[in-house]
Symmetry: C2
Subunit: 179 residues, 2 copies
């Protein structure tokens, strides 16, 4: 299904974000004005240790002024291949490299107002590696068993949607083993 925009107006651009208003025709023929935050896309990685636990991050997020648990993730640089981005972000954020990066499809974090696509990967065969971290991020690594992650989801201590969704993808695909 394709609907060409009737008009397009850029409200702002900042770094890799643009806010755009478009007049489009819905599939039912009705014209509407829609807001889209245009985003270059991102990767999310579920790093699985040899013993089957998961490497999460505890990360300060200025947009919420909170420190939350998340899986490693990062924004695609211009023209960057998602697998290359995943390998780069994994090292930068966790200090581990992976022998295997297994594609786990896509997620849409905010389809109501944002065109971001998140490319998902499982990382296995982890080994220590070092890279210059991103100085604009405040991150700590936290390894968890699957049971601990499930308890945190139930208690409200893990509420990041992409992380919970990718854990579910890993469980369904059999890469992550429920206990």
């Amino acid at each position: 299904m394709t609907t060409a925009p009737l008009s397009r107006r850029i409200l702002f651009s900042w770094r890799h974000f643009s806010g755009v208003l478009r007049d489009v025709l819905l599939p039912n023929g009705k014209p509407v004005t829609t807001f889209t935050l245009e985003h270059p896309g991102a990767v999310v990685i579920i790093p699985i240790t040899d013993s089957g636990s998961i490497i999460f991050l505890s990360q300060y997020r200025p947009a919420l002024n909170e420190t939350i648990f998340e899986l490693p993730a990062g924004t695609l640089e211009q023209g960057e291949d998602p697998a290359a981005c995943a390998a780069r972000e994994l090292i930068e954020e966790t200090g581990f490299a992976a022998k295997n990066l297994i594609p786990l499809g896509k997620l849409l974090p905010a389809p109501g107002f944002c065109n971001e696509v998140q490319w998902c990967f499982a990382a296995t065969g982890l080994y220590p590696a070092s890279a210059a971290g991103d100085d604009d991020e405040v991150i700590e690594v936290r390894e968890m068993s699957i049971n601990e992650a499930k308890r945190l989801i139930e208690s409200g201590g893990l509420i990041d949607a992409k992380s919970i969704a990718l854990l579910m993808k890993g469980l369904i695909g059999g890469l992550v083993r429920g206990e």
Copy 2:
């Protein structure tokens, strides 16, 4: 942890969205400029039928120019209670009302750049109800078994992060029964 913004500049406002640049101090003391899409918050509902299947929507999303499967969801109106919003959106989007709306905590769809909080509910004891639909939305209702939803997640036919995450919450909490 609280960090007051050093400065705040509104890039744009449109309906319930605002794009804001703020200079803040990170917990490590480093000053950074961050972009936040300010959002009033939303609800996501997992409607569970008496036979244990789930009511999804097939919904056209202009931001992606795609029709995707999602759980019912909607944005909070000003001052609106999340449970009242969930009851309203459930009827508007699915044509069902619920005897029980069970809170399932929160999700963060895009903590990297958006302060949106999604309040989650399971809806049970469903019965037909009618309400004026939102004319700006093109929606069809689609009932699925848990197995069908899991197969769609595995095949890439269901990629909406909030929907997969809330299904996981329902499974962990025992409200949704895996087959």
